[in-house]
């Protein structure tokens, strides 16, 4: 095995060890007392109907509370399309 590949393997194994070690500390799936579900999620669930008048609070979070996120997601998709166009397109003869 080449030394560079061996180095890459060791790096991957060490990183995997730390990632697995970190997973143990994470809260359980669907734990209602986890920080992710006690910080802003109750606010969204309780107030999104009054704030945005959208019946589905997933779209209220997606498009209203986090509108910047979705705006630049759209921009990223647009840029990806432009990059594909630049890479794949033939030049005019």
């Amino acid at each position: 095995m080449k030394p560079l590949k061996l180095l890459a393997l060791i790096t991957v194994l060490i990183t995997a060890f730390f990632l697995m070690y970190g997973v143990n500390e994470m809260p359980d799936w669907g734990n209602s007392s986890a920080p992710a579900s006690t910080h802003v999620s109750p606010y969204y669930i309780q107030h999104s109907q009054d704030d945005t008048d959208a019946p589905n609070f997933v779209s209220a979070v997606l498009a209203d509370y986090r509108g910047f996120d979705t705006l630049f997601e759209t921009t990223v998709i647009f840029c990806a399309g432009m990059a594909c166009m630049m890479l794949l397109r033939k030049k005019k003869k």
Partner: protein, 160 residues
């Protein structure tokens, strides 16, 4: 289109199902505010309905219907709609993407917020549809279209 009915079953199936797919895509885009779905998913369905037609009938047939320039225009115009709605809120003394400040004749500002969400979903749907179809065109054209493969003289799709 010399071999008009080369794949009769595939062409008939696509002809029957294409309006349903396109209508379902529009439904997903417009109903994304109230139910699971939205601009991204609806745009993908719209784009895939169009790609299905392009697979069944050939790229030349579908390029007559919607030219590539229009597809690229739509993909940029979707981002413009999204950013434009956000910037329009600035004109009426709101924050960026603060839809409630838009001067629409509705009873209360929350209904306007709902309409603003639907407006940006339309923008996202247009962008995703345009990018999907544009990538498909680029892949097809990079491999050479049908006339080039048969050895006939063809300028290529892009020079039209």
């Amino acid at each position: 289109m010399t071999n008009r009915y080369e794949n009769l079953i595939i062409e008939f199936f696509c002809r029957v199902i294409a309006p349903v797919v396109l209508l379902f895509g529009v439904y997903i885009v417009f109903h994304g505010e109230a139910s699971p779905g939205g601009g991204f998913q609806g745009g993908v369905i719209l784009g895939s309905g169009y790609i299905m037609l392009a697979i069944a009938y050939g790229i030349d047939f579908t390029l007559k219907r919607i030219r590539e320039r229009i597809i690229l225009f739509l993909s940029g115009f979707g981002v413009f709609i999204y950013g434009g709605i956000g910037a329009a809120c600035l004109l009426w003394h709101g924050n960026f993407l603060d839809y409630g400040k838009l001067p629409l004749p509705l009873a209360h500002t929350n209904a306007i917020r709902g309409l603003g969400i639907m407006g940006i979903e339309i923008g996202v749907g247009l962008t995703v549809m345009g990018v999907m179809v544009s990538i498909y065109y680029d892949l097809i054209v990079a491999g050479g279209n049908q006339k080039e493969n048969k050895g006939e003289v063809c300028d290529g799709i892009l020079s039209r």
